[in-house]
């Protein structure tokens, strides 16, 4: 038996013997033979390698890690360089007390975890400007698909009858989201129309519209509010997939009338991890409360009238509603939602504003430097992602070579276009490195830039209401306090 299997399996040899005796069999083999029908039993042992010890495995994992070349990423598309606060890494991500726990079906024994998820919902509601948020979905793309399905399922009887089954999707949504939504639409007989929200007018055959904000080119388009009212005028529901960090600075989609706001919380201190896990968020209006997919934590009271939390509205969920459920979601991303909410708890309103401002400022500095080098800026209102067009004669695949030699990944859209997206973990040195790459491609020298807190966005985009107002986001900013809070929960 492998060294690790003796650690993994609970009973030792003596206990095993005692247990078999109580069961009334002579051996494990006898019990298994009695239990599993003979005709389906495997003949031999699985063809899987012999066990490594823990020490050997960890060395092997180090080798595998070394085979990954981790470049600084400016690719964006919903995944950004972020910093996991060490206090959260050690006391949540590396703490069995947080990670082994099960879904809080027994609320009384799970108040701490429920509180952390309630913080998540509160944060999402404040930033999106919505009335209701759930406690996470699997990823941004499926969250957008869930929005579509929710709109579809919540259609009025008459609309169902009338076969109102079209859904608009902005062509400037993240490509992976369009991919996922396509698959989901088909099955339910939803007809997807992919187009430019600027020119899309909509009509009575459309029940929903899905847009991205800022869009996949990084643009903070002026027309979001106008688009939403245009759609609403035709009774088309609008879902906005938004970068939650951008909403620390930008006006909330909720305040512009959105029916759903959803997206990823990866950049709230959860590593990219080559794709996940990360918590998607999903916020909507009170009207939809019986249609929301996923778990919702709610406030109630116990028999002694103490405030007590628990999972709310379970009647929406598949384990009760089965084929009539709002969604098939069961396991979601609770631990990652906890991490994301704790990131906001630890940074607080001021810290979050600083982080949002700083990623924006990085974009701004590179945009300015690029323009000075002869690149064209595709759009001048952006949050953290800039859309660059190369000077005549400069091809993005040449830039790619130089960038990769410097261990940078950009997003290349065409031979002459690319986007660069900036995360918290990108440093001033990186910024100057990026400018040096852009300069090298045009055979110039870049002038070094210094980060500051200036903002390129026009006032009309900026939010004026306060966020992170609840005490929980204003209390735990020293590491000792944070540790104690994490321990208390």
């Amino acid at each position: 038996m492998s060294a690790f299997s003796n650690r993994h399996i609970g009973p030792n040899a003596a206990e095993k013997t005692a247990m078999l005796e109580k069961i009334g069999v002579k051996s494990v083999e006898e019990l298994v033979d009695k239990t599993i029908p003979a005709h389906i039993r495997l003949k031999g042992e699985l063809n899987i390698d012999a066990a490594l010890t823990e020490e050997e495995y960890l060395a092997h994992a180090q080798e595998l890690a070394a085979k990954n070349q981790v470049f600084k990423s400016f690719i964006g598309l919903g995944y950004n360089e972020t910093i996991i606060p060490p206090v959260i890494q050690r006391n949540v991500l590396e703490n069995p007390g947080w990670y082994t726990a099960y879904t809080p079906y027994q609320a009384e024994i799970s108040q701490g975890r429920l509180e952390a998820l309630l913080n998540f919902q509160t944060m999402v509601m404040e930033l999106t400007g919505m009335e209701l948020a759930n406690a996470s979905l699997l990823d941004e793309s499926t969250a957008v698909a869930e929005a579509m399905i929710m709109f579809f399922n919540a259609r009025k009887r008459a609309d169902v009858k009338a076969g109102r089954n079209k859904c608009f999707v902005s062509e400037f949504s993240f490509p992976q989201t369009i991919d996922v939504v396509k698959g989901r639409a088909e099955n339910l007989g939803i007809e997807l129309v992919i187009g430019n929200p600027e020119t899309f007018e909509g009509d009575a055959t459309f029940f929903g519209a899905l847009v991205q904000y800022p869009d996949a080119l990084g643009r903070v388009k002026k027309n979001l509010e106008g688009f939403i009212s245009r759609m609403h005028a035709k009774d088309i529901k609008v879902s906005v997939a938004a970068d939650l960090l951008s909403l620390v600075l930008l006006k909330s989609p909720g305040s512009m009338g959105a029916d759903v706001v959803c997206g990823s919380t990866q950049r709230f201190g959860v590593p990219m991890g080559y794709g996940g896990p990360h918590a998607a968020y999903f916020a909507t209006k009170e009207d939809y409360k019986r249609h929301v997919p996923g778990r919702i934590i709610g406030v109630s009271k116990d028999v002694d009238d103490n405030v007590a939390l628990r999972m709310a509205l379970q009647t929406r969920e598949q384990h009760i509603k089965r084929d009539k459920a709002t969604s098939n979601i069961c396991t979601a991303q609770a631990l990652l939602a906890v991490m994301a909410s704790m990131y906001a708890v630890y940074h607080g309103p001021q810290g979050m504003r600083e982080i949002a401002t700083s990623v924006h400022n990085k974009a701004k500095k590179v945009a300015e430097g690029a323009v000075a080098l002869g690149y064209e800026l595709g759009y001048d209102q952006y949050f953290d992602t800039i859309w660059l067009k190369t000077p005549v004669g400069v091809m993005t695949h040449d830039i790619k070579k130089i960038a990769e030699a410097n261990k940078f990944n950009f997003r290349y859209i065409s031979g002459s276009e690319m986007t660069l997206s900036f995360g918290e973990r990108v440093t001033e040195t990186d910024i100057n490195g990026v400018l040096a790459v852009l300069a090298a491609a045009v055979k110039k020298n870049a002038t070094a830039t210094t980060l500051d807190t200036t903002i390129a966005l026009e006032d009309e985009f900026m939010r004026t209401d306060a966020v992170f107002t609840h005490e929980v986001f204003n209390k735990y900013h020293s590491e000792s306090k944070m540790m104690r809070y994490l321990k208390r929960l």
Binding site: I40, N68, G273, G275, S300, D302, D323, I329, Q333
Partner: protein
């Protein structure tokens, strides 16, 4: 111990988890060029191979981010297969009444029409009913979704017959892999005749549950379905040659935590994997042996054994003592346990799955608690305790209620807080008493209440 039925709460070993914070895994963008992610892809390839071996399948997709997502993906693959065969009409999906709620929900999402099939009094799929329904829908039969061993904790003897019936009628068999912890190394989905199944890596393959996620629900498929595995517009390499659309944003789903399952397999090896399954069965049958003297065990196999989990019958307590299964669940908190699964798959029962990672002492502690609770119920049945005002109905008991409130229950604080010897050393104090769910649903608040509202107490 959290002995949750169907949820496989096994050990999440420290060594399995350590690599997820290695910078070489943590900081990679999902759309970084393939050649930069060689470490990841080497791991994916090996993991796919090992999971294929464990399931008896030909190909694996690591994309789905949960079991339910895997169900959706698997059904979509089946659908694409039928369509490729010119069988676009095969949209009926048979689902036994004992199935987990995600099965019908996923089937609906994938555009199937659901036909529910019955179970017999032994908890097994009613083969006659199944045959009849397969027959009835034979031109439109798309799939059967079946959990194995069943959600009733039994290895159905007729499973191969069942899968043959489906195949004979043109359908594909989707196996829900939530109970794979009772199969690995001893039997497999391929063997029982399934065409697709998902694996809950967060159950069988040691990814921690995280309080409700993350998870990973890769799907394995037989050779004829391999071409349809989900692709990704972001990575050409991903998926089969006739790939269905992506089911997750990232080509390999939550790639980072695949490292955990990979570690689990690497450190157990073939022998350790098999032995883990065997010991999961031993542990379950040990609990059964101890508890069957006090509780009814709802279903057992033909030799009177259970698989890796079992259902404890609590239905009569309602009649005899006014005690509902939820009361037992709450009373277990006073004994320091998170309750087993309540009322799934059968109402007013408990579904217990200990897993191989628990040792005898812990199992005994749990059995002792269950037996002690059974005695408390007997006191009510006997009329020695009140039907409304008793240890179970008032559970759980906080320290606050025991010490600070005027004690006016018909039992002592000692009986409430320390009903059993081991609690002297291990007492867990619950922070709140029984939660009022209905009140909360009527007055839905889902953001942090203001501090003042906490003073309402």
């Amino acid at each position: 111990m959290i002995p949750l039925g169907s949820c496989t709460m096994k050990l999440n070993a420290a060594s399995e988890l350590m690599p997820i914070t290695f910078p070489g895994f943590a900081h990679m963008h999902p759309f970084a060029p393939l050649e930069q992610a060689q470490g990841y892809h080497e791991m994916f390839a090996q993991l796919e191979k090992d999971l294929c071996e464990a399931t008896g399948f030909a190909a694996m997709s690591l994309q789905p981010n949960s079991g339910a997502q895997g169900e959706y993906a698997g059904l979509m693959v089946i659908k694409a297969y039928h369509e490729a065969n010119g069988d676009a009409d095969r949209k009926v999906c048979l689902i036994p009444s004992s199935a987990h709620g995600t099965n019908p929900a996923s089937a609906v999402m994938a555009g199937f029409e659901i036909v529910v099939t019955k179970c017999d009094e032994m908890g097994n799929i009613d083969v006659e009913d199944l045959k009849a329904k397969a027959e009835e829908h034979k031109d439109r039969l798309g799939a059967l979704m079946v959990t194995y061993p069943s959600t009733h904790g039994v290895y159905e003897e007729a499973i191969q017959e069942i899968t043959s019936i489906i195949h004979a009628h043109g359908g594909q068999v989707y196996m829900d892999g939530a109970n794979m912890n009772a199969q690995v190394g001893l039997t497999n989905p391929g063997n029982i005749g399934a065409d697709v199944c998902h694996l809950n890596l967060h159950k069988t393959f040691a990814i921690p549950h995280g309080g409700g996620g993350p998870g990973m629900g890769p799907i394995g498929v037989a050779a004829h379905l391999a071409d349809f595995l989900p692709g990704s517009v972001m990575l050409e390499k991903a998926g089969g040659s006739k790939a269905i659309n992506a089911v997750s944003a990232a080509p390999y789903g939550s790639a980072l935590i695949l490292m955990i399952s990979y570690a689990y397999i690497k450190m157990l090896g073939a022998e350790g994997l098999r032995h883990s399954t065997e010991m999961a069965i031993v542990n379950a049958n040990y609990i059964k042996a101890r508890l069957s003297e006090h509780y009814g065990i709802l279903y057992t196999g033909k030799n009177n054994t259970v698989a890796h989990e079992m259902i404890l019958d609590c239905r009569d307590f309602k009649r005899d003592a006014g005690v509902e299964v939820a009361d037992i669940a709450k009373r277990l908190i006073d004994y320091g346990f998170h309750s087993p699964t309540v009322s799934f798959p059968v109402a007013e029962t408990l579904m217990i799955e200990p897993t191989e990672s628990e040792d005898k002492e812990e199992l005994d502690r749990f059995c002792d608690a269950m037996i002690s609770i059974r005695k408390e119920i007997k006191e009510i049945e006997n009329g020695h305790a009140d039907r409304e005002n008793n240890l179970l109905k008032n559970a759980p008991h906080t320290a606050d209620c025991i010490i600070n409130k005027d004690w006016n229950y018909p039992y002592s604080p000692q009986e409430a807080a320390y009903p059993i010897e081991y609690l002297k050393d291990y007492k867990y104090w619950v922070p709140v008493r029984r939660v009022d769910n209905a009140f909360g649903d009527r007055n839905l608040i889902c953001s942090c209440p203001s501090i003042e509202s906490y003073e309402m107490a």
